[in-house]
């Protein structure tokens, strides 16, 4: 007892003495050492590229691994990755990739085409339960192998031609196939290490632990403390190692955005993952050099349950959309540079420019509502607006509620549900209007417009149209970019006329970034390959 209390007093005293310690990361020192400290949202659910989904996972995995095609830090092009060059056959179905001669794994092994065959086979193995398996359904026989009707993987469209080249055969000419190859589920895996830790289907994840994980990207895993920090160190065996200037990246999983912002302000981070709404305004009003606001390939929208009265009437849906003051919503409420939406697909994808307009026209809206039998909102049943819990979603929903009450005289009840309950309600069609968002996976209008095909896995609106579905099918085989874009435009126009969804604004990414960080350019998909980043200490 005596001894114990002595120990306690010592602990207390040492706590008090070290008060002057300041923050745990001395940012200037980190910058000089080329150590990049970055907030990374919620803790990643894992490092197995086939078993995870989500943005924080993408950030980590794409620094540890590399696919055939590299991400362009400035935008939209295709850069060499593991493949130094590629050829596409005339019919658009056969791709041949030539590998970098010195592409290596972090343990020094060469990266060979078989590594891709191994990884893709694993992704398409149904017993693994990979959520992104469908990305490779574009491969010839990919779906057949997955659902078990084809047992022999040799008939699937991927094969090693030589130790330096890989041939990929597709089911249809898929114009955005190279874009998919930038995405982490299609990256190669190191067969040897996976097999020595229980084989491709083992579920204990031993192979992804620090010390065990063998990766082929510019960085390798050094440390991974759950809910604390994940450290990646430069990989000396990387084929383009001379390009890589950062020595180390520290990913901090931070649940609370308030905490993250405070950490940044106290000098513990080079970059935050996000920024609370009201902080955006505060930083902007003081003209902070830290604040970054960049366009982002995503759309915020309200989905309407067209199977339910009164939303089964197209005129009511149109009225709701016309009475939506997108400009006011964006300028007075969000204030983070978002653009009011005029289409479902955000602008900026290649040469596809959506031509639809979504005007704010209260008179026309009232007229349509009256035609539908609810003049001035009279007799309009009380409808529910569903959103998932969260301070900002609540604020936005309250604004929408007020907008429709003021403009159309209709009453909307707000319903707030915990995220998983909200997902379940949406899926089972137990909602009338629900907030929603969609972020593009790759640069193609299809990643947005494919949502609304009949029986689409993410189409909860109950709306479908045979012409719409037909046009989408045509885009999958159409090789001419102009003709393909024309099809997308027709789909867009139909969608905006039928209004199963009310697009509100195109997303922006608002976050904080220290000026020391170099090579960090705006990019529509918000991917900032760590390979090109470096830190420049401020001039003394």
């Amino acid at each position: 007892m005596q001894k114990n209390s002595l120990k306690w007093i010592l602990v207390l005293v040492s706590m008090l003495v070290s008060c002057q310690g300041g923050s745990q990361n001395d940012l200037a020192q980190l910058t000089r050492d080329q150590i990049y400290a970055v907030g990374n949202g919620s803790e990643i659910s894992g490092l197995d590229p086939h078993r995870v989904t989500g943005v924080p996972e993408d950030h980590v995995i794409s620094t540890l691994f590399e696919g055939l095609i590299g991400e362009d830090p400035k935008g939209l092009g295709l850069l060499p990755g593991v493949a130094q060059s590629w050829r596409i056959s005339k019919d658009g179905k056969v791709y041949t990739f030539e590998f970098q001669s010195n592409a290596k794994w972090s343990n020094g092994d060469a990266v060979v085409p078989e590594d891709f065959v191994f990884a893709w086979k694993r992704l398409l193995t149904r017993d693994l339960g990979a959520e992104y398996a469908y990305l490779l359904f574009h491969l010839k026989n990919g779906r057949a192998f997955y659902d078990g009707s084809l047992k022999d993987f040799a008939q699937v469209g991927v094969k090693a031609l030589s130790p330096q080249s890989l041939e990929v055969t597709l089911e249809h000419p898929t114009p955005f196939f190279l874009e998919i190859l930038k995405f982490y589920p299609t990256y190669p895996l190191h067969r040897g290490s996976i097999e020595s830790f229980g084989g491709p289907l083992a579920r204990d994840g031993k192979w992804t632990q620090p010390g065990n994980l063998v990766s082929n990207g510019p960085f390798q895993l050094a440390q991974w403390d759950l809910n604390k920090v994940l450290v990646a160190k430069a990989n000396p065996h990387y084929w383009d190692a001379s390009m890589v200037r950062l020595k180390e990246i520290r990913f901090y999983p931070i649940d609370s955005r308030q905490t993250e912002e405070r950490m940044f302000r106290s000098g513990a981070l080079h970059k935050t993952e996000s920024l609370p709404l009201h902080k955006v305004e505060a930083y902007r009003s003081e003209n902070s050099t830290y604040l970054r606001i960049e366009p982002y390939l995503g759309i915020f929208y309200y989905m309407l349950n067209t199977a339910q009265k009164p939303l089964n009437d197209k005129r009511v849906r149109q009225a709701l959309s016309l009475a939506f003051d997108r400009k006011g919503f964006v300028e007075h409420l969000l204030k983070a540079g978002q653009k009011p939406a005029d289409s479902f697909t955000p602008p900026g994808i290649g040469r596809y420019v959506p031509k639809t307009q979504l005007p704010y026209d209260v008179d026309r809206a009232r007229q349509l509502l009256a035609e539908a039998g609810y003049p001035g909102g009279k007799g309009f049943p009380s409808i529910e607006l569903l959103y998932n819990s969260g301070e900002e979603h609540r604020t936005m929903s309250e604004a929408v509620q007020q907008m429709w009450l003021k403009n159309l005289g209709i009453r909307v009840e707000l319903v707030n549900q915990d995220w998983k309950v909200y997902l379940a309600s949406r899926k089972q069609g137990k909602y009338t209007i629900a907030r929603a968002s969609w972020i593009g996976d790759y640069m193609d209008p299809g990643t947005f417009l494919e949502l609304f095909v009949k029986d689409g896995g993410n189409n909860f609106t109950g709306w479908s149209n045979p012409r719409y579905s037909q046009w989408l099918k045509e885009t999958e085989v159409e090789m001419k970019e102009e003709r393909r874009n024309a099809l997308f435009e027709k789909m867009e126009a139909l969608l905006m006329d039928e209004v199963p969804v009310i697009p509100v604004y195109y997303y922006t990414r608002a976050y904080l970034l220290r000026p020391e960080v170099q090579g960090h350019d705006p990019q529509l998909l918000d991917r900032h390959p760590a390979k090109y980043l470096w830190l420049k200490p401020p001039a003394p």
Binding site: S18, C19, G22, E43, G46, G129, Y134, T208, R262
Partner: protein
């Protein structure tokens, strides 16, 4: 005594069984499963996932399987953190939460008992009112308010301590204060009441009449009796500290068990919710039992009461 102890332990086991069963069926009632995401998975993938984690079996069979597994100490794989098992996750978080809880309890006892003794021995004076006012403030300030406030003052404005983390001793000060203050307030009140009441007892008066010094009476007699309700409070408080630390852990970015727990609840990570519940209830039940035993040892009179129902 031994018989009473055995009965108490058996009761504890029953309580555990009840808690596990209730939680098991309750989380199955919650809408949304572990594999529901913003983007829906193709039906065949979803099916496969359910099969992999045996979620396609009848619920009752899952339940018996689960009970069988925990008897072997295996809490199963985490559904969300696919690279880890629940045992590993608990192990990763529990020591930090434990450390946080121990410091907070220690802080609460030092501050709470000091304030309580001070107030109790100065009953009715301004010292008493000041101490009790502070304790009232501590009880009324929820941790989600106290935490950001402390960070803002001592972390941001004054820059004395880090705003987050659990590394350097300095980074541990604010979380400990945030977590411990409520308990310090309760302890202060308990202690004060105990002292005030004991001082009215006859034997204290006798001691005083004998001419013993106030200090000697306080240490030799009053504290002994006055500490009983405090001891009584410590068991449940220790348990509550362990299970209630997640707000503090989230605010200060501490990688403890509380955060895992809440993340699991929101993600519907069934095995992780259950595993942590099992783990925490074992702790709660044990702490309550220890607190009972301790009281028994300190105050033999209680033995006469049937069943030994002590709060």
């Amino acid at each position: 005594m031994i018989q009473w102890a055995i009965r108490r332990v058996l009761q504890g086991v029953l309580v555990l069984g009840f808690v596990i069963s209730l939680t098991f069926f309750l989380i199955r009632l919650a809408p949304g499963g572990p594999f529901d995401r913003d983007r829906n998975l193709p039906a065949e993938v979803q099916e496969k996932l359910l099969e992999t984690y045996h979620l396609d079996q009848p619920v009752f069979q899952q339940y018996t399987n689960y009970l069988g597994r925990i008897l072997h100490g295996d809490l199963g794989p985490s559904f969300i953190r696919s690279d880890r098992s629940v045992n590993q996750l608990i192990e990763a978080g529990v020591w930090i939460t434990f450390e946080l809880g121990v410091y907070a309890l220690f802080y609460a006892m030092v501050i709470g008992l000091t304030l309580g003794i001070w107030a109790g021995t100065h009953e009715g004076t301004w010292q008493d009112r000041l101490a009790m006012g502070m304790s009232l403030l501590g009880m009324g300030l929820p941790s989600f308010l106290l935490g950001p406030l402390l960070v803002w003052i001592f972390g941001m404005k004054l820059g004395w301590v880090p705003v987050s983390g659990w590394d350097s001793p300095a980074s541990k000060i604010l979380p400990v204060i945030t977590l411990g203050s409520v308990y310090a307030s309760y302890l202060a009140r308990l202690m004060r009441t105990g002292i005030v009441e004991t001082q009215r007892e006859d034997y204290i008066r006798t001691a005083r009449a004998k001419g013993l010094s106030e200090g000697a009476i306080l240490i030799g007699h009053t504290l002994r009796t006055a500490l009983i309700p405090v001891m009584n409070f410590l068991g449940p408080a220790a348990a509550a500290l362990l299970s209630g630390s997640f707000v503090v852990e989230t605010l200060f970015q501490i990688p403890g068990l509380g955060r895992f727990y809440v993340q699991a609840a929101f993600n519907r990570d069934y095995t992780m919710i259950l595993g942590t519940t099992v783990f925490l209830s074992v702790l709660v039940v044990t702490f309550n039992m220890l607190s009972d035993f301790l009281q028994m040892a300190m105050n033999p009179r209680i033995r006469l009461q049937e069943g030994g129902d002590l709060s």
